[in-house]
């Protein structure tokens, strides 16, 4: 368990997915074999001080042994191996896959990040209602536990899928890729990914989105951008939510913007209130602009591909005739 953020893995649940995993073991003698577990769980969890687990598993273990002995016994085989790889390279590879899938289909994807309680889900519900079918929106909801947020989104009629990260403090690109597969996103639609409420960890994990949007509610401190600079640096847009409450607070909007620009000089800012609808028009215009750009980018790619195919086809008869 991480003492910094309480982050852990291995408990991820995505709506409608059953646990299935594959291990690769490397033994001390260099032998590797592969397990293919098909778990048929019968959970009886009683996590108290004395944790008792009862997992009657139905295992199917097709083992494949591949001995890889390359050393003589008793001879030290210490050596150096160059790695030179980014720690997040695995996540980044999944994110690149997601991004390609989204861009090719003209889907405008946003990664919504904030601290817990900033009003992300309420803002999303209001956004979907106000778009009023002009844009098809699908939502991926990330929370440590419960599917309450996904249910709130589904009540608007938009498809939503919940990812429970268990102990995990952020969504990663692999989880999002799996959820995208289940949502079967239509072309030229919007995908909103509501990340786990956390201003720290999600900053580092690219999910394949077009932009990160950070939501700062005015009931929080105006110095949040400099306290959690990574997140505000990673975001393209800052939504200042709950602006209807400003008359009751000492929160200074100009100071909050100044702090955000100190961390990220280029960050855009829109003041909104999901409750009263104030500023929502500007936010919707930003969204529709982004969606139109995503659509145009897809068409440009499609046109480029069509041109390329036409060029290649034009060369085919020439190539055939030069051979004969």
């Amino acid at each position: 368990m991480c003492t910094t953020c309480g982050c852990g893995a291995g408990e991820v649940k995505i709506d409608g997915e059953h646990a299935h995993h594959e291990h690769d073991h490397v033994h001390a003698d260099g032998t590797t074999h592969k397990h293919d577990h098909d778990h048929d769980h019968d959970h009886d969890h009683q996590h108290a001080a004395a944790a008792t687990h009862e997992h009657p598993h139905a295992h199917a273990h097709p083992h494949s042994y591949a001995p890889a002995h390359s050393h003589a016994p008793g001879v030290s085989t210490k050596r150096m191996v160059q790695i030179e790889q980014d720690i997040l390279s695995k996540n980044n590879a999944y994110a690149a896959e997601n991004r390609q899938h989204l861009v090719e289909r003209g889907i405008f994807a946003l990664n919504l990040v904030s601290s817990p309680g900033s009003g992300k889900t309420t803002l999303l519900v209001k956004t979907i209602e106000m778009l009023d079918g002009r844009q098809r929106v699908a939502v991926i909801e990330g929370d440590q536990q419960t599917s309450q947020d996904a249910e709130r989104i589904r009540a608007t009629g938009a498809p939503a899928i919940q990812i429970n990260t268990g102990k995990g403090c952020h969504l990663d690109a692999h989880m999002v890729g799996r959820a995208m597969g289940k949502l079967e996103l239509p072309e030229d639609s919007m995908l909103m990914i509501e990340n786990v409420g956390n201003l720290v960890c999600p900053a580092a994990f690219d999910l394949g989105e077009a932009h990160k949007v950070v939501i700062l509610s005015v009931t929080e401190g105006e110095d949040k951008p400099i306290k959690y600079p990574d997140m505000f640096r990673a975001a393209t847009l800052m939504l200042m939510n709950k602006c209807d409450l400003l008359p009751h607070l000492t929160f200074s909007v100009p100071r909050a913007i100044e702090f955000a620009r100190r961390v990220n000089p280029g960050i855009e800012v829109i003041e909104v209130s999901a409750t009263t609808g104030q500023g929502m028009d500007a936010w919707l215009a930003w969204l529709e602009g982004g969606a139109a750009a995503a659509n145009a980018a897809k068409l440009a790619t499609v046109d480029a591909l069509k041109r390329r195919i036409a060029e290649l086809e034009a060369r085919l008869p020439a190539a055939a005739s030069s051979r004969s």
């Binding site: 368990m1 991480c2 003492t3 910094t4 953020c5 982050c7 852990g8 893995a9 690769d24 490397v26 033994h27 001390a28 003698d29 260099g30 590797t32 890889a68 390359s70 030290s76 085989t77 210490k78 050596r79 150096m80 191996v81 160059q82 790695i83 030179e84 790889q85 980014d86 720690i87 997040l88 390279s89 695995k90 996540n91 995990g168 403090c169 952020h170 990663d172 720290v200 960890c201 900053a203 580092a204 994990f205 951008p225 400099i226 600079p229 990574d230 640096r233 620009r261 100190r262 961390v263 000089p265």
Partner: protein, 113 residues
């Protein structure tokens, strides 16, 4: 931040490399961590020990090579040292800095057997 996930990422890289290069034990891991990467070295060492328990890197030494933070100051038009991501230019005090180095988080090399 999120040192546990990073430690898991490191172990994955090690395990992938073990399959490709057929080694069974790792005794030392060298990481390059930028000063502006937001990684707490002590938390990272703690998480690495937890994550690698009973793995091929159980008990491995973690060596961290710190890389300096640098940024491009738009006012001075030059590269300046940075100690915080939202730091100010040591020359002119401006916040118009674009980070150019020091956000690295890389597994550099391993000593294996």
């Amino acid at each position: 931040m999120h040192e546990m996930s990073l430690a898991e990422g490191i172990l994955q890289l090690i395990e992938d490399s073990a399959r490709q290069q057929s080694f069974a034990r790792v005794s030392t891991v060298w990481l390059e961590i930028g000063q502006l990467a937001g990684v707490e070295v002590e938390a990272m060492k703690f998480c690495f020990d937890v994550v690698t328990r009973d793995s091929l890197a159980d008990g491995a030494r973690l060596e961290i090579i710190a890389l300096p933070g640098t940024g491009w100051c738009m006012q001075c038009s030059m590269t300046v040292p940075m100690t915080e991501v939202f730091g100010e230019c040591p020359q002119c005090g401006s916040h118009q800095l674009h980070v150019t180095g020091g956000t690295e988080m890389r597994v550099k090399e391993l000593e294996v057997a």
